[in-house]
Every structure is written in C-alpha cells, then in structure tokens.
C-alpha cells in the first residue's frame, strides 16, 4: 500500500458554537498563539533573573558556565532544530493528505525529542557527579563560589522547566500520532497537527535562547 494520498473518511467535527470550519480553525490558531505568549512570559521571569545575575556576577557565571558540556549542548541544539524540521514536514504532510509521511515525521520528531531528553539526562547526571546540583552536596571551585549556587539553580530551573515542556510535547505528539494512525487528519482538517507544531516550535525556540545564555557565556576564555 504505497498510496499515501488517501482522503480521510472522517468528517471533521464542526463544534456547535462555531459558524464554520474556517472560524473554528482561526480560533484554534489564535488560541495557541496566545498560549505561547503566556509561555514566553512564564519563561521570561526566569530569563530576567538569569540576565540580572549574569550581568552582576560575570566571573562566577562565566566559570560556572564553562563547566557545562558544550559538546552535548551543541548536539542537543542540532537535535532539537532537526526535530522542528521534522515537525514542519509533518504539518506539510498533513496538509497534503500524506498519512504515512505524517506518521513517519511525527515519529521522527518524537524520537529526536526523546534523544534530546536523554542527552539532557546525561548532562544532569554529570552535574550530579561533579557536585554541581544545589542542595545536594553542592561544591564549586571558582570565584565567589556561593554565587555559583545561583547559576546552577537557574540552570536547573530553566532547563528543567524546558524539559518538562518537552515531555508534555512528547505526550501531545503521542496523541497526534495515534490520531494520525486512525486516519483522523486530512488536507481539509488537521488543526491539531498545526497547533501542536506551533507548540513544538516554541519549545525549540526557548532552547535556542537557553543554549547561548547558559552554555556560551564565557567560552572565549
């Protein structure tokens, strides 16, 4: 069965309170964009705290940043960017009624997301071994070591919150994959894929800010 372009037998449900599918789609997209705006401000609080302390304690934050594994961080960045590519391709496949490609790209996105989380877990493990987790036998050699506590607290809070969003994203993708497998999506209606895509891209973009701020701070030394 190599025919990808099968029209879905399902009629997309028009919710009773909308006038037509177009309105329903517009509402869903605007809703997701607004939600992403709230997420931006949610992360924004931590970013603000980080920026303030980064400017105040450049030495400590630089030293602490240099203990992060830049190789793993870079690999993770590539992994996540690629996952956004596969997600975009998934949305395209949905828009062109290519069910199998849609499923394949969704799965690829999920695999890459899981790889990202795995590498993150490895990094966290390294931090544990190096006694860089605040509150768990924290020890730091460097200028003003008590301030390194700040760096690592913010590192774990920010990347942890990000990882939590990735995990939720994987959950969402699972649902999308299941719905795609059941043939629920069509060129005419694939709104959940679109808004999941928006969410996934947002999580990616947060990482694209996290990575240079946390890892690349003082690398030139």
């Amino acid at each position: 069965m190599h025919d990808d372009k099968t029209a879905s037998p399902y009629e997309p449900a028009l919710k009773h309170h909308f006038d037509d599918l177009g309105q329903q789609h517009e509402a869903a997209m605007l809703g997701m964009w607004l939600f992403l705006a709230t997420e931006l401000l949610f992360f924004g609080g931590l970013f603000t705290a980080y920026m303030v302390y980064r400017v105040w304690y450049p030495e400590t934050f630089g030293a602490a940043s240099r203990t992060l594994d830049i190789t793993l961080g870079t690999v993770n960045t590539m992994v996540l960017i690629t996952s956004s590519l596969t997600m975009a391709l998934a949305v395209h496949a949905a828009a062109t009624d290519e069910r199998r490609k849609l499923m394949a790209f969704l799965a690829a996105t999920m695999v890459l997301g899981a790889v990202f989380l795995g590498i993150k877990g490895l990094e966290y493990y390294h931090k544990f071994v190096e006694h860089h987790i605040p509150g768990f036998g924290f020890q730091f050699e460097g200028p003003a070591p008590e301030r390194a506590n700040l760096f690592f607290s913010l590192y774990f809070a920010m990347t942890g919150l990000h990882a939590l969003h990735m995990i939720i994203g994987l959950g969402v993708m699972t649902v999308m994959l299941t719905m795609a497998w059941r043939g629920r999506f069509s060129a005419r209606w694939h709104t959940p894929i679109e808004i999941s895509g928006l969410y996934w891209h947002f999580v990616d973009i947060v990482w694209i800010f996290l990575f240079p701020l946390l890892y690349l701070v003082d690398r030139h030394r």
């Binding site: 030495e59 200028p143 003003a144 008590e146």
Partner: protein
C-alpha cells in the same frame, strides 16, 4: 524638608478636592436636571466633541506632569545628602533597630541626634527587609539584607519622634518601634560626653582587624599578600579582569564576605571568606576602620547614590588612584 513634603501634599489635596467637587457637582446637577420625569422619556441627541476630549486629556496630563515635577524635585533633594553630615549606622533586625554612632556609642530603638545638623543614616538589615520610618521627618527608606541604603535628614525642632518599621517583617513588626530624640546642641553635647566606654567605631574595627588576623595580609608596608588598605576607601581600584571599581562601603563589604568575586590586579585569590564569621555591626566597624585609614575624616561619603549598589555590582570609576595600583607599580621585593 518635612515642610516641603507637606506643601506638595496639600497642593495635591487641593487639586483632588477641586476635581472631586467639580465632578460631583456635575453629576449631581445633571442627575437632577436630566432625571427621567415620565416613563419612556428619551434623552436628547448630543454630538460628540473632539475638542472636549482633547481638552480633558491634555489638562489632566499637564497637571500630572506638574505634580510629577514637583514631587521629583522634593525627592531628589531627599535623596542627596549635603556634603557635611553626621554619619550614623543603623542595622535593622527582627525586631529592633540598632544604631551605631561613630564614637562607638550603641543605641537600641532610640536614636539621639542634634537639632539643626544634617544626619546621614547608612543602614542594612541582618535578616529580612525592614523600613526605617520617621513620620515627623516625612522620611522612609528600606533597609535590605546584603546591601547598604542611605537616607539623610536635618531635624529642625527638638523633641521625641516616633520611629516605626514600615516594611512587614514578621511576628513583631508592629513592635519594632522606637524614638528619635532630637536634642538642643548643649544637651546633645552632654549626652555625647556620657558616652560608652568601647572606644570609637573605627577603633572597634581596628581591634577586629587584628583579632580576625586581617592585618597579617593587609600590611601597611606593602609587604603583605593582600593590598594595602591605607587610602583605599573612595579610590579607584583596578581588578584583575581589567575592570575598575570605586572602593565604597559596598565594595568593602563584598571584599570581606565574598573576596574571590573581585580580585585586585596583581594579587592572588587567597583571601578566605568571612561570611558567617562577622555580624553586620562588625562589618560596619571594619568599614569605619578602613575609612579611617584614608586620612579623611570618617564621615566622608564615597559613593553618593542613596541606594548603594548591590554587592558585586561595579560602579563607574572615579576617585584617586588606589594604593594597590601604586603598590603594583612598585612591586614588592
């Protein structure tokens, strides 16, 4: 100063009263004049007026800016102490106010000051945020753990005035009250003469300097492992990362509590931290001692921003070259 605040305040009261009365008058007048007299009576068509909208946007805006400017001016003067001040340190802690006079006298919950002299209070907190509030002086400033904040006043009338803590700080927040006693000059002299026997704050600091072995590394002859402290207060200090900072109270405090944060150029990060080993009051004594090594009178301010930078924040460079710079230029043998 209090009079200036009151003047602005009563101006604001007058303007507010005016607008409240005017609006109330219009509402009441329209409310009566245009009340519905018959069931089903309709209103009369009223044309919108752009001119009116603009007028009642611009006029309040203008009034607001006048109020802003006046308030800002009063505030600016409140924030800038004069050059000559009688300096006193205040440490807030749950739930009391501790004062340290430079001559070594300590007071708890009571502050004696002379009338007619500018008094500058430099303060911090030992625990949570408190706020030093003397209603009679129309003055308030938070004291914050980890930094120094300043306020100044010139009491014009002798008397006893309430001192309150104005930032909620826990159980006995409303018990953290005291008195500011403003005395006529002769009474103040008499009070000073009955002083405590501990010696001046700077000499207490000197004793600590020896007890804590600071003197081992910070030798006046430049042979120590640490920078010379004579003349350092208020000077520009070059750090090993190229930055230049002013050695003010916040810098000194940070150097004692978090010494590896800023390393003076040409020196090694050898100094251990004294976090947990010195109290806020001991820190103030040490700072006064270092100030006294300047050759300036201990009451000269270094940085004149009222808030004081947070520890670790660098201030723009100004002031004479620091002794440690001279020390570097003449390397020790």
């Amino acid at each position: 100063m209090a009079g200036k605040v009151d003047a602005l305040y009563f101006f604001l009261v007058a303007v507010s009263a005016f607008f409240v009365i005017v609006i109330a008058a219009f509402v009441i007048y329209f409310g009566i004049r245009y009340r519905r007299r018959a069931h089903g009576e309709v209103g009369t068509k009223v044309v919108p007026s752009l001119a009116l909208e603009i007028a009642w946007t611009i006029i309040p805006l203008g009034l607001g800016l006048v109020m802003f400017a006046w308030g800002a001016q009063v505030y600016f003067n409140q924030a800038r102490p004069p050059a000559e001040t009688l300096d006193i340190y205040v440490v807030g802690k749950q739930w009391m106010w501790k004062f340290q006079h430079l001559d070594g006298r300590r007071e708890i919950n009571e502050l004696h000051v002379p009338v007619g002299r500018a008094v500058r209070l430099t303060g911090t907190s030992e625990d949570v945020i408190h706020s030093f509030f003397v209603p009679a002086f129309r003055l308030k400033a938070d004291v914050i753990p980890g930094r120094y904040t300043t306020l100044w006043f010139n009491a014009t009338k002798a008397g006893s005035y309430h001192l309150f803590c104005a930032e909620y700080c826990g159980t006995k927040h409303s018990g953290m009250v005291g008195t500011v006693v403003v005395m006529e000059p002769n009474e103040y002299q008499a009070w000073l003469a009955g002083g405590g026997g501990e010696g001046s704050l700077a000499s207490q600091g000197q004793k600590l300097f020896q007890d804590l072995a600071c003197i081992t590394c910070h030798r006046a002859d430049g042979q120590g492992r640490g920078p010379v402290l004579e003349g350092v207060f208020g000077s520009r200090v070059s750090l090993n990362n190229g930055q230049v900072v002013v050695a003010d109270e916040a810098y000194l405090r940070e150097s004692i509590l978090s010494p590896s944060a800023k390393i003076v150029a040409g020196f090694q990060p050898l100094m251990p931290t004294f976090q947990g080993l010195v109290s806020e009051e001991q820190l103030l004594a040490l700072i006064e001692y270092v100030k006294s090594l300047t050759g300036l009178a201990p009451s000269q301010p270094a940085a004149d921003t009222p808030g004081g930078p947070a520890p670790g924040r660098t201030t723009p460079a100004r002031g004479p070259q620091s002794p440690s710079e001279r020390q570097r230029q003449n390397p020790k043998k």
